[in-house]
Every structure is written in structure tokens, then in C-alpha cells.
């Protein structure tokens, strides 16, 4: 039983409030920065003893409370974020110093990025675990079970969850599939060949950059159009649901 919990985390629907409170308490030091800085001295510039303790505390808590799956997902997410935020940021800062655009020295920048990296590895997993604990899907399912009308808040929840589920499970996979399908066109006829054949006289770099920008724009437009297409139809159906008060007045509140 204990092993199962470690692998899967607690049953998602059971004790979710308790899990939510535990994770929220673990969140506090990371987000408020209170204990982290107040009670510990530095091991090296940008890294304190408490940073290390907190880092392990977060990982153990997420593993026990939310399970291995959430932990692995969190590590993947944090890896992606740290590559784009920390390493790219650090690289830009380094290049600025190298080119003489910044008067500060490299050792003055470094602690900031070390601290940022460690902080990301603590804060992102715990934040993901907190969000994953809330049983949105289960709550959504019980919304209409009472059959006694819906409140404005419930209407918003219904609309938001339908749109999010459409975006996550329909729009995103479709766009990813189309992008994957079209990669074969590029593989078959590499950019180099196209550039040689091109009548445009712009440089290779400019051509590449403009192509990437154009592709990002079209993907964005496509994403927005696919996400918005059925919102008016869903909105009219959700708006037709009676409010609690209206339902009581009209149907004497007798549920089915």
C-alpha cells in the first residue's frame, strides 16, 4: 500500500483538501522567501543551506503527496523553463559583458543565476503539484448533478473547462500533428536548395528569420481560430441554463 502511494500519490479525489493544505504550507517559504533567507548562511554566492534543504523537502513532499508521475512531469517542465530562462538569460548577460555593454563583472551576475536555477527547481514542482491536486474534472462532473440551476460562478467554470479541454485535447494535438506531417516536406527539400532557387535577393539569415516569424504567426492564427470557433455555440447553451433563483421560481425547485 505504502509503495503504491509512493508511485501513484494519494488517490486524486480522496483527501484532496488535506493534500492541498500540505502543499500550500510547503509552498509558503518558497514564494514568500521568508525562511529561505532569514535562517541560513551561504554555502557559495547565490546558494544557502536552506535552499538545499528546501529543494529536498519539495521533492520528497511532491513524491509522497502527488506521486512519481507529477514529480517527473514537474522535472521536465522545470528543465524546459530553466533552459529558456536561466541559461539563455545567463548567456545574454555574458555576451553583454563580453561586448562591453555592461559595466558589471561576470562574478557579480553569477550568484543571481545560481539562485534563480535553484529556486526554479523548488518553486515550479510545488506549484504544479498544487494545481494538479485540485480535482477540477471531478468538481465539473458534480456541477449539474443537483439539477437545480447553476450559479454565475458555476457557469464560468463550465465554460472555462470546456474551452480548456478543447484547446488541450483537440486543438493542440491537431496542430502538433499537422506540424509533424509537414516536416517531411522540409526534409525532402532542404532550405539550402530552396535558397539557391530563390529569386529573392535577401540574405540567408534574413530569409530564415522571416520564415520562422511567418510560421510562428500562422501557427498562432491557426491556434486562435481553432480555439475560438465553437465558443459562441457553447456560450449560448450555457447561458440558456437557468439560474438557481430562476429555477426555483419557474419549476418549484423539484429536481429530477
Amino acid at each position: 500500500m505504502h509503495e503504491t502511494n509512493l508511485i501513484r500519490g494519494w488517490d486524486k479525489t480522496r483527501h484532496w483538501k488535506l493534500k492541498f493544505i500540505i502543499l500550500l504550507l510547503i509552498c509558503l517559504p518558497g514564494f514568500t522567501d521568508y525562511f529561505v533567507r532569514k535562517f541560513s548562511g551561504p554555502i557559495m554566492p547565490g546558494l544557502t543551506h536552506w535552499d538545499i534543504i528546501y529543494f529536498f523537502l519539495v521533492f520528497v513532499t511532491v513524491l509522497i503527496v502527488s506521486g512519481r508521475t507529477i514529480l517527473i512531469f514537474s522535472i521536465s517542465a522545470v528543465a524546459l523553463i530553466s533552459v529558456s530562462v536561466v541559461f539563455t538569460g545567463g548567456l545574454i548577460a555574458f555576451l553583454r559583458i563580453l561586448k562591453g555593454f555592461s559595466v558589471e563583472k561576470i562574478y557579480e551576475y553569477s550568484p543571481h543565476y545560481v539562485s534563480l536555477l535553484v529556486r526554479l527547481f523548488s518553486v515550479v514542482p510545488i506549484a504544479i503539484a498544487v494545481v494538479a491536486t485540485i480535482p477540477v474534472r471531478e468538481y465539473e462532473c458534480v456541477l449539474l448533478k443537483r439539477m437545480t440551476g447553476v450559479s454565475t460562478f458555476e457557469r464560468i467554470i463550465l465554460m472555462v473547462s470546456r474551452v480548456l479541454s478543447h484547446v488541450i485535447y483537440t486543438v493542440l494535438p491537431t496542430i502538433v500533428q499537422i506540424m509533424k506531417e509537414e516536416r517531411y516536406a522540409r526534409k525532402a527539400y532542404p532550405v539550402k536548395e530552396m535558397l539557391e532557387d530563390s529569386v529573392m535577393k535577401s540574405t540567408k539569415f534574413r530569409r530564415r528569420v522571416s520564415r520562422v516569424i511567418a510560421e510562428i504567426l500562422t501557427i498562432g492564427v491557426s491556434f486562435i481560430c481553432c480555439s475560438l470557433e465553437y465558443i459562441p455555440l457553447w456560450a449560448q447553451e450555457i447561458s440558456r441554463l437557468p439560474s438557481r433563483k430562476e429555477f426555483k421560481e419557474n419549476a418549484n425547485g423539484t429536481p429530477y
Binding site: 486524486k12 508521475t69 507529477i70 512531469f73 494538479a132 474534472r137 465539473e140 462532473c141 456541477l143 449539474l144 448533478k145 439539477m147 440551476g149 447553476v150 463550465l158 470546456r162 479541454s165 488541450i168 485535447y169 483537440t170 494535438p173 491537431t174 496542430i175 502538433v176 500533428q177 499537422i178 506540424m179 509533424k180 506531417e181 509537414e182 517531411y184 516536406a185 526534409k187 525532402a188 527539400y189 530552396m194 511567418a214 510560421e215 500562422t218 501557427i219 492564427v221 491557426s222 481560430c225 481553432c226 475560438l228 470557433e229 465553437y230 459562441p232 455555440l233 449560448q236 447553451e237 450555457i238 447561458s239 440558456r240 441554463l241 430562476e246 429555477f247 419557474n250 419549476a251 429530477y256
Partner: protein, 433 residues
């Protein structure tokens, strides 16, 4: 078969049918097929349209869209049913039937608690019909878009129940269909079946330990991980080949695997002349493909040599199509109104995307539901035209459809069938017919 209160209107093109549907629902569906700028201008005028739709005398109109899953506004089938009952009851109208009875009547009792996204095509259709059946108590009429495309023959009685519910409604039932959509016999035409140039190509499909994860892209709750596995097989086939099977049997999943647009483990290949390479796929929803990348960009990204320019192939397909349509005694639908390639009708988009794929000389070209958005004759002539052009370049063609039209067009058939396994997803088998 359908009651007298039901009117069926036939349209020659997808655009005409969509316009008619939009007209019925006060333009509540933005025109995605008309491009991003039209889409946006339609979308920003929605608040007024929404008011007009809800404030229309006699109560709002019930409807089912061309893809029934899109008209389900709630997260699960049970919510869709309960919401409809709540709406009907709030209008002082008694549905006259209980929740569980409706679920059993429409055959959705087993899947009623599933999220909408996990429903198969057939289940989504039944839920949409059950919803409109309940709303029949408080709606002024019903509009259904292309039901003969998405409704399997054995479920026609469900359409009958629903249509019957609107017998006394003010506006009755209007079905908007594409020409020939409801014809369920194979297409017969001498020109197509006896043409010598319409030669066949030999190829094979080989699957080895293929397994596909069925969780969503953000499926962080993996405690109930499910897989679709394919039985190992190797089939020697002739092109054009038809993948047939009922709704939700895994035909499209097989197409995604063969074209590698989905992540999977194992090996899946189309083998032609002893070589294996990537195959290309023309998705069912070509509108998303068109929006995703402008046609100009698609053309510019596949220009291998002057002999295989997509523009040239596009013109060849168009020429073949025109010839086939005239030999069938059919008028040409909305195509070729612009010189060369550019933004155009759904049919033009299909020509364009097929041309772009043929250009990359894939080991196979797969067309998912070629009849989607096309009339019967247009769909058949499109497939024949594309297969001729593809065969000239040695590319085998695979089409996916559940329509019985293709019996005289295709040279081989594979039946795709799903077998559900308890707690472990399902197995998909491919049988050569």
C-alpha cells in the same frame, strides 16, 4: 423513412452548406473556411448574433453541427443530457422521460460519465441526438448539418426518434446535406472502372509491435494509462487501397501511425519497390491544415525541381478532375476561379494539399475521409484524379472511408477492427478483405 415535418436540402459545395447552416443559427459559427480575417470579423459580431439567437420568438433553434462533437457544450455526456433536461424544465416543458431512460434509449448508458474528448465518433453522435431529442420540448425547430456523413446506417432509428420529437414544433426539422451524401450504393461509371490508364501499383503495409499511448498531451494523471496496440501484420496490397471500418475502429489512428504524425513505439511502414520511406497524410479537416500554413507557404516549402512543381501537379489534378466530372455528366463545382494556386474553396484546398504531398514523392499518400465536405461525385472524381497523378509517379494511394461508394474504384481493401481489452486500452487488427 424520416417524418413529413423534415425537409432535406442538398448543396453542391461545402461552402454553400456552411452558409445555409450559419444562416439558420444566426451566424453563430465564424467562417473558418473563408480565412483568418473573415473569421475574426465574424467572431467580433457574435454578441449581437447571440442576442438575436436567444431572443428569437418561439425559443432558440436546436442544431447538430457537421462534426457532432463540436455542438456538445459540456465536459461529459452526462452533463450534456442533464443540461438539456434542465433547460427544458426551466421553460416549463416536461421532457416526459427520465435521465436513465434517455441514456438507454440512445445507447449511451455505458459512456455517459466519460469526458467528451474520450468519446468515439459514434458515441458523440448518439449524445448529440439525445441532446436534441430532449431540447425538442423547448425549441422552435431543429437543423442538422450533413447527418448522412456521420450517422452509421444502424443508428438511423435514433435520428428518427429525434426528428419525430419536432413534429409539432414551429419550424420543423431541416437537414442540410451535400449532394449524394445519403446515397449508400457503390459508384458505378464505365469511364472510371474500365479506364486502362487507371493502372494499379503494388505496395505493402508492415506493422511490427506498434503501440500508441492514448493519454492527452498534458496527461499528468497517468494512473490509468491506456494503449492502442496493433497486431503485427504484413499485407501485400494494390493501390488505390481502402481502409474501411465503423466509427471509432481506429482507421485514422492507423493513418497517423503510418504517416508518423503521432508518437508510437514499434515499426510501421509502407513499402514500395522494396524501399521504405515516410508517407504523407491529407487530414480529414483540411481547413485546419490550410489555416495552419498559407497555401503559398506550403507551395514554397516543396519545390524540388521544375518537373515536379506543385503548381504543375495541381493543374494536372484539376484537368483530370474536370474531365472526370464532365464524363459523369456533372457540372464543375466552385474551383479554378483564381488563376493558379491561392486561397480558394475546400475542393481547391484539397487539390493543393494533395499536389504538395505528391511533390515530396512519399512512399505512400493517405487521404483521410476524402468525402468530407464534398458531394458524392466530387469526392469520387477527386480520389480518381489524385490516384492517377500519384500512380504516374509511382506513389500508392490509401483512402480512409466508411462510405460504400468506393467498391468499384479501389483495387484492395483492408478492414480495421477494434477489440476492447479490460484495463488496457484496445487491440486493432487489420484484415485484408
Amino acid at each position: 423513412m424520416l417524418s413529413d415535418s423534415c425537409t432535406v436540402r442538398y448543396f453542391r459545395t461545402f461552402e454553400e452548406r456552411e452558409e445555409a447552416f450559419r444562416g439558420r443559427v444566426f451566424n453563430l459559427v465564424p467562417r473558418r473556411y473563408a480565412g483568418a480575417s473573415h473569421f475574426w470579423s465574424d467572431f467580433v459580431s457574435m454578441p449581437e448574433n447571440l442576442k438575436a439567437f436567444l431572443g428569437d420568438s418561439g425559443g432558440p433553434l436546436a442544431y447538430i453541427t457537421a462534426n457532432p462533437q463540436d455542438c456538445l457544450a459540456f465536459g461529459s455526456a452526462s452533463q450534456v443530457i442533464r443540461a438539456s433536461m434542465l433547460t427544458a424544465k426551466a421553460s416549463h416543458k416536461d421532457v416526459g422521460i427520465e435521465y436513465l431512460h434517455i441514456c438507454r434509449m440512445f445507447g449511451i448508458a455505458e459512456c455517459v460519465d466519460q469526458p467528451i474528448r474520450t468519446l468515439s465518433g459514434g458515441e458523440a453522435v448518439k449524445v448529440a441526438l439525445a441532446k436534441t431529442y430532449i431540447l425538442g420540448a423547448c425549441s422552435k425547430g431543429l437543423t442538422i448539418s450533413s447527418p448522412f456523413n456521420w450517422l452509421a446506417k444502424e443508428n438511423f432509428r435514433l435520428l428518427d426518434y429525434t426528428v419525430g420529437k419536432y413534429g409539432e414544433s414551429r419550424d420543423g426539422v431541416e437537414i442540410l446535406a451535400l449532394e449524394g451524401e445519403d446515397v449508400d450504393v457503390p459508384f458505378e461509371h464505365v469511364y472510371l472502372s474500365e479506364d486502362k490508364e487507371y493502372r494499379s501499383i503494388l505496395f505493402s503495409i508492415k506493422l511490427d509491435e506498434v503501440s500508441v499511448g492514448l493519454q492527452g498531451p498534458i496527461g499528468i494523471d497517468l494512473t490509468q494509462r491506456q494503449y492502442a496496440t496493433f497486431y503485427d501484420c504484413e499485407h501485400k496490397l494494390e493501390s488505390p487501397c481502402l481502409l474501411k471500418g465503423g466509427n471509432g475502429q481506429g482507421k485514422s489512428l492507423l493513418a497517423y501511425v503510418l504517416s508518423r504524425t503521432i508518437n508510437f513505439s514499434g515499426y510501421a511502414f509502407i513499402i514500395r519497390n522494396g524501399t521504405m520511406g515516410p508517407s504523407r497524410l491529407l487530414f480529414q479537416d483540411v481547413l485546419t491544415q490550410k489555416l495552419h500554413r498559407s497555401l503559398k507557404r506550403i507551395v514554397s516549402s516543396c519545390r524540388p525541381s521544375k518537373d515536379l512543381e506543385p503548381d504543375k501537379i495541381y493543374r494536372s489534378i484539376l484537368e483530370e478532375f474536370t474531365q472526370l466530372m464532365s464524363s459523369c455528366g456533372q457540372e464543375l463545382p466552385l474551383i479554378g476561379h483564381k488563376n493558379g494556386m491561392g486561397e480558394g474553396s475546400l475542393l481547391e484546398t484539397k487539390f493543393m494539399l494533395a499536389a504538395a504531398r505528391i511533390c515530396s514523392l512519399p512512399s505512400g499518400l493517405i487521404i483521410d475521409e476524402p468525402d468530407w465536405g464534398l458531394s458524392r461525385e466530387s469526392a469520387i472524381c477527386f480520389v480518381v484524379a489524385v490516384s492517377r497523378i500519384a500512380h504516374e509517379r509511382g506513389i500508392p494511394l490509401i483512402i480512409i472511408s466508411h462510405k460504400p461508394w468506393w467498391a468499384n474504384i479501389v483495387r484492395s481493401t483492408i478492414e480495421v477492427r477494434k477489440k476492447i481489452l479490460p484495463h488496457a486500452g484496445f487491440h486493432i487488427s487489420l484484415t485484408k478483405v
